[in-house]
Symmetry: C2
Subunit: 178 residues, 2 copies
């Protein structure tokens, strides 16, 4: 069993630990146990803790990029398909977001430079969003509002009710097409 799978299992285990137990509990041993690997096995794949966190970030950046790209490719709109896809994925996809949160927090804690792949991602998206056929300021506001949802989920600070969240989502959506 396990080809490139093991590596990814380890990454999931690490994310899970960060999400559920916090960054201070992301130790090599805990990660190994959670992933069902020996410590030696973990270090075989990721030779240091920093490498592990880098793995987390790289992996989720790749995933997120694919997700958005797939949504864009599916879209039949001429205008606003990037911002629309960004909002769709972020509002409706709890899965990659959870991993994103864990990865961001871990990277910020361990070494901010590890966030570079995320920065690249954001820069790419911002460019697409601004060239998306709608007013760039409006598009930027929609992106920021979407990020706001993200922030509140990241810190579990203030969850809008499902209904209000839906209303916000619909209003943003309508605004794109306006």
């Amino acid at each position: 069993m396990a080809r490139a799978t093991r590596k990814i299992e380890i990454l999931h285990a690490a994310s899970k630990i960060v999400s559920e137990r916090g960054i201070f509990n992301l130790t090599l041993e805990a990660t190994a146990i959670e992933a069902g690997v020996s410590k030696g096995g973990l270090l075989y794949h990721f030779p240091s803790k920093e490498a592990l966190v880098k793995g987390m970030v790289d992996h989720l950046a790749e995933n997120y990029r694919d997700k958005i790209a797939a949504s864009v490719a599916e879209s039949t709109k001429e205008k606003g398909k990037w911002i629309q896809s960004y909002a769709d994925v972020t509002f409706n996809n709890p899965y990659p977001n959870k991993e994103m949160h864990a990865g961001l927090l871990a990277a910020k804690a361990v070494n901010s430079d590890l966030l570079d792949p995320i920065r690249d991602l954001y820069n790419e998206w911002q460019i697409q969003i601004e060239q998306d056929g709608i007013d760039p300021v409006k598009a930027t506001i929609i992106r920021l509002a979407t990020d706001g949802i993200w922030l509140s989920e990241l810190f579990d600070i203030h969850h809008l009710g499902e209904q209000r969240k839906e209303e916000v989502y619909l209003k943003l959506k309508n605004w794109i097409d306006e």
Copy 2:
């Protein structure tokens, strides 16, 4: 010297360390040195690391609440003064934001329950914002967009240019009065 001042100096020192060196470098010793106090002295004021982080969060929550309240009190608008104040303070006040970032990250790392004062704050604001005389969905979107700015500053992920940021700010502002 030092009445209640010392405590606050220690809190600033802790925030500074988190901002500049990351959470893993927030040790009692480092904080003591940064604040110019001995470790024993620090532990006199904050008997544990968790107490220190709790101190950070409580302090910044109080500060932020005051800042917004002051801005609201100054406002002469009848409609939308809460959301306007929230946007104003967040867009234009780099200082409390920096401390907020540090406090949030530290609390999230040490013990998520420490974020409760922030949750209370957000709940209060959301109530005010929704009763602010403008469409609550619109007001919520403005709040979220403002939080989006915050997120990008927190992780240093994507800084809008000053000009675009200003355009966003103005558009949101106009939207409130529309």
